[in-house]
Amino acid sequence: MTDSEKILDSDINELLIQPPYLLEDQTKNQTLTDILKIQLKNAVQNNTHIKNLVSKQGTDIDAITKIEEIPFIPVQMFKYFDLSTCEKEAIVKMLRSSGTTSDTASRVPLNKKTVLNQMKSLKQILSDYLGNKRKVFLVIDHEGVNSSVSEFTARTAGVRGLSIYAKKTYYLLKEENGKLVLNEPVIQDVIERYSGKDVYAFGFTYIIWSVFYQQIIEKDIHFNFSDITLFHSGGWKKLKDEQVSKEYFSESMSSVFNTDKRNILDFYGMAEQTGIIFVDCECGNKHVPNISQVIIRNPYTLQPCSVGETGMIEILSVLSDSYYSQAVLTEDLGYVVGIDDCPCGRKGTYFRFASRIEKAEIRGCGDTFKE
C-alpha cells in the first residue's frame, strides 16, 4: 500500500468512526471532494470506461473544486459495463442485482476493502437508530430471499445489510406454492419469546403491506413490541397505485406492532450503493451520512436543484475501492428539504424521495423499425 493510499484509507476511516450525521454540509463537501478526486484518478487509471468518460467530457480532475463536478454515471450503466476499479484477482464477490423494472442485472464487483467499508458504514448509520447493542432481527420476508443461490435483489440487499445488527434472525413469512404466506409457527415463537422486548425488523414495503399486513389482520394476530424499530423500503409505486400513503402505512403498522408510528422508518437505498441507506428521521426526512452526499439534479439542465425543487437523485460515496460508486445518478426523483437545520439535529443535506421516473411511454406513431 502506497503512502497516499494509506492517507486515503485513514481519511475514510475517520469519517466512518464519527457519528454519522455530524458534519455540516459545507465541511463535508470539501472533505468528500478531496477524497473523491483521488478515487476518480484511481478509477481513470484502472478502468478504461471511466477513462473514456473523463477524457470525452474533457474533465480536468485537478481543476474540480465542487462536489457536483465529479462526473456521474447513470445507475443503468452497471448493467452494460464492467465498472471495476481494482484488479480482477482482488474481487471477492460479484453482486448481481436485478431491479424491479428490468430483466438485466447490474454487476457490482466488491473487494475486501469495499465490503468492510460498507459494513462499517451500515453499522455507523444503524447505530444512530438502534443504539450499539445487537438485537433480535425480524425479517418480514421468506428465508429464500437471503439464499446464496437466489438472485441478489433489493430485498436481499436490505436483509443482508440490516442483519449486521442481528443477534438472532427470524423470517416471519414463508413461500408456499410460489406465494408468500405468514410463517405462523415462527410468528407464535417470536411472540412468546420476545413480546415487550427490544427487537428490530425489516421488510420490503409492498410485501409488508400486501402480504404481511393483510394476513395479520385476517388472522387477527397481535404483537406487543412497543420498542420495535421497523425499517422498510421500496415498492412505493404499487402502494401509491393502491392509494396507500406513507402516513397511513406507518399508522397501520404501528397498530399491528402496538408501537409508536415514529418507530416505523422508511429508508432509501440501492444495491449499487450498498453500505449507505437514507433512513427517515422522526421528522420524516432522509439524512445523508458523512461518507456520502446527495445532489438533486434538474433532469433537463442536469444542474443541481435549489432547495424544494424536484429532480433526479444522485448519490456520491467514498466507500468503494473496487468499482465506480463515487457518483451515481439514479432514476429516482426527490427534493432537498433543507441543509444542516433539520429539527432532529442531524447535520447535512436532508431530502425526501418523490417517485421513480416513469418509463417513457411513447404514445404515438414514432415507434420502432422492427417488424
Binding site: 473514456n52 443503468q76 459495463f81 433537463y300 439542465t301 442536469l302 404514445r363 404515438g364 420502432t368 422492427k370
Partner: protein
C-alpha cells in the same frame, strides 16, 4: 363514462353513458355537410386557414403555421385531385370511360383514435373526414383537446359566399363530435368502435392491436396509421457538394420538429464515406442545433425520455469506439459510431450518425415499418434508382431535408380520402 366536449355544434362538456345519442346526432347532421359542394367546403377550410394564425391560443402550437399553409385553397384542391382523381366525384355522378357514371359517397360516421405525439394530428385527420363529407367522432388525447376545440370553434364561425349563396362552417362542425374516454375500458371502446362506419386509427403497436381487436360493423372500413420509423442518407457526392451545409441545417429542423416524436422524425443519418470525417459532420450538425429557434431548441420533454437520453449519452461516453457531441443541457444529442444498424428511437433530438462505405448497403436495413427516408443523393438517376429499391422494400415516402414532415398525401402508402368514401356506380339506362 364518455366525456363529450362538442355535440350538435354546442361546445359544452357533458357526460354520456354510451355513444348511441352522439352517433345519432352526428349521423343526422352529416346530411347538411353532404349537401355542401366540395368547392364550398374547400373555401370554408381555406378561410379557416387564414383565421387560425390570428388566434393567439393556436399560434403558440407547434405546426400551426404549417397547418395554415396546408389549408390553402390550392393545396386542398390538389389533395382532392390526387385522392379522388376528379374534384366532381364527391358532388355528383361523373362519366367514366363511357361505361357508367361514378360518384364518391361518404362512408358515414368515422370514429377517430388520435395519438398524442403530434398536437395538430387530430386537426389534420378531421380535415380529411370533412373533405370526404363524413360525420366524425374524435377520441382526442386530453393534452390536445383544447387545441382541437379552439380550431373547431374557429371553423364554426367561418362564413363564406360562393356563387351568390351564403354558407356557414357551423354546418360542418355540427357533423363532428369530440369525446374522451378511458381507452382501457373495453366496453366503452367496443361501443365507440361499433358505432363507426369507418375507423381511422393512429398509434403505437399496442394501441393499434387493441383497437383492431375491438368488434366492428361488418361494413366498417378501418384505416390504420401504425408505428413507423424514419431516417436519412447522404451520398459522397452530395456531402462534398455546396448543397450539403444547407441540407444539414434543414435536417436539424426535421429532427427538432415535434421533439423527434413523430413517425416522420429522422432517428439515424447514414453518411457515405467522403473527404469529411464523421466527427466533423457531427460538429457541423451541432452548430445547426445550437442555431435552432428557441422553441425548437428547448421543448418540454418527458422525464422518462430525459432518463433515456442520459443513459444513451453515458453508454457512448463510456464506450471505446463511440463519441458524443451534445449540449450542456439535454436539448440535443449527437451520437457517433459505425455500427451498421438502425437504432431504437430515443427522441428529444437524439440523433445517431453513422458512416458507411457505400449507400448501396443501406437498403438491407429497410423494413416495412420505414415511413420516410430522407435521401440526399446528388445524381438524380442514382437517387431515383435508390428510391425505387427502398420503396420496394417498404419505405412509404422518399423526401429531401426540410420536407420530411410535409403532410403530403399519400401518407404511409395510403390515399386516405379515397378510402374514406365508397366508390359507387350508376349504370346507363
Amino acid at each position: 363514462m364518455v366525456k363529450c366536449y362538442l355535440l350538435d355544434g354546442e361546445f359544452s362538456e357533458q357526460n354520456q353513458d354510451n355513444f348511441a345519442d352522439i352517433s345519432q346526432v352526428v349521423n343526422t347532421n352529416r346530411r347538411a355537410l353532404h349537401a355542401l359542394p366540395l368547392p364550398v367546403i374547400i373555401e370554408i377550410l381555406s378561410a379557416l386557414g387564414k383565421k387560425i394564425i390570428q388566434n393567439p391560443h393556436l399560434t403558440k402550437i407547434q405546426g400551426i403555421t404549417y397547418l395554415s399553409l396546408w389549408l390553402r385553397k390550392r393545396n386542398l384542391e390538389q389533395i382532392c385531385r390526387i385522392n379522388y382523381g376528379n374534384l366532381s366525384y364527391p358532388d355528383s355522378f361523373v362519366d367514366v370511360e363511357n361505361r357508367f357514371k361514378m360518384t364518391a359517397q361518404p362512408r358515414g360516421v368515422v370514429a377517430l383514435w388520435v395519438a398524442a405525439n403530434i398536437p395538430t394530428l387530430a386537426i389534420i385527420s378531421i380535415v380529411q373526414t370533412i373533405l370526404s363529407k363524413n360525420g366524425s367522432i374524435v377520441k382526442v388525447p386530453e393534452e390536445n383537446k383544447d387545441i382541437l376545440l379552439q380550431f373547431l370553434q374557429e371553423l364554426a364561425s367561418v362564413e363564406v359566399t360562393y356563387d351568390n349563396s351564403h354558407y356557414s362552417g357551423l354546418d360542418i362542425v355540427k357533423a363532428i363530435s369530440v369525446v374522451s374516454f378511458e381507452g382501457r375500458n373495453h366496453t366503452i371502446s367496443s361501443d365507440f368502435s361499433l358505432n363507426a362506419d369507418c375507423r381511422l386509427v393512429y398509434g403505437g403497436s399496442k394501441a393499434i392491436q387493441s383497437i383492431l381487436a375491438l368488434p366492428q360493423k361488418d361494413h366498417c372500413e378501418t384505416i390504420v396509421y401504425g408505428p413507423k420509423y424514419s431516417f436519412g442518407v447522404f451520398d459522397r457526392e452530395f456531402i462534398e457538394s455546396d448543397l450539403f451545409e444547407k441540407s444539414l441545417d434543414k435536417m436539424a429542423k426535421d429532427i427538432a420538429y415535434f421533439n423527434q416524436m413523430a413517425c416522420s422524425s429522422p432517428q439515424v443519418l447514414f453518411f457515405e464515406k467522403s473527404s469529411f470525417q464523421l466527427q466533423t459532420i457531427g460538429e457541423q450538425l451541432a452548430r445547426c442545433f445550437e442555431n435552432l429557434p428557441g422553441d425548437l431548441r428547448i421543448q418540454p420533454t418527458d422525464a422518462g425520455i430525459l432518463a433515456n437520453i442520459i443513459n444513451i449519452r453515458a453508454k457512448y461516453l463510456l464506450s471505446d469506439d463511440k463519441s458524443v457531441i451534445a449540449s450542456d443541457d439535454l436539448s440535443w444529442t449527437i451520437l457517433i459510431d459505425n455500427d451498421f444498424r438502425l437504432e431504437d428511437p430515443v427522441h428529444g433530438k437524439c440523433i445517431f450518425l453513422k458512416e458507411v462505405e457505400s449507400l448501396d448497403t443501406v437498403p438491407e436495413l429497410i423494413t416495412r415499418k420505414i415511413q420516410a427516408l430522407s435521401v440526399s443523393i446528388f445524381n438524380p438517376q442514382k437517387r431515383e434508382s435508390f428510391a425505387r429499391e427502398a420503396t420496394y422494400l417498404g419505405v412509404d415516402r422518399i423526401v429531401i431535408p426540410g420536407t420530411i414532415h410535409d403532410y403530403d398525401l399519400p401518407w404511409d402508402g395510403i390515399l386516405p380520402l379515397s378510402r374514406l368514401v365508397r366508390w359507387v356506380i350508376l349504370k346507363y339506362q
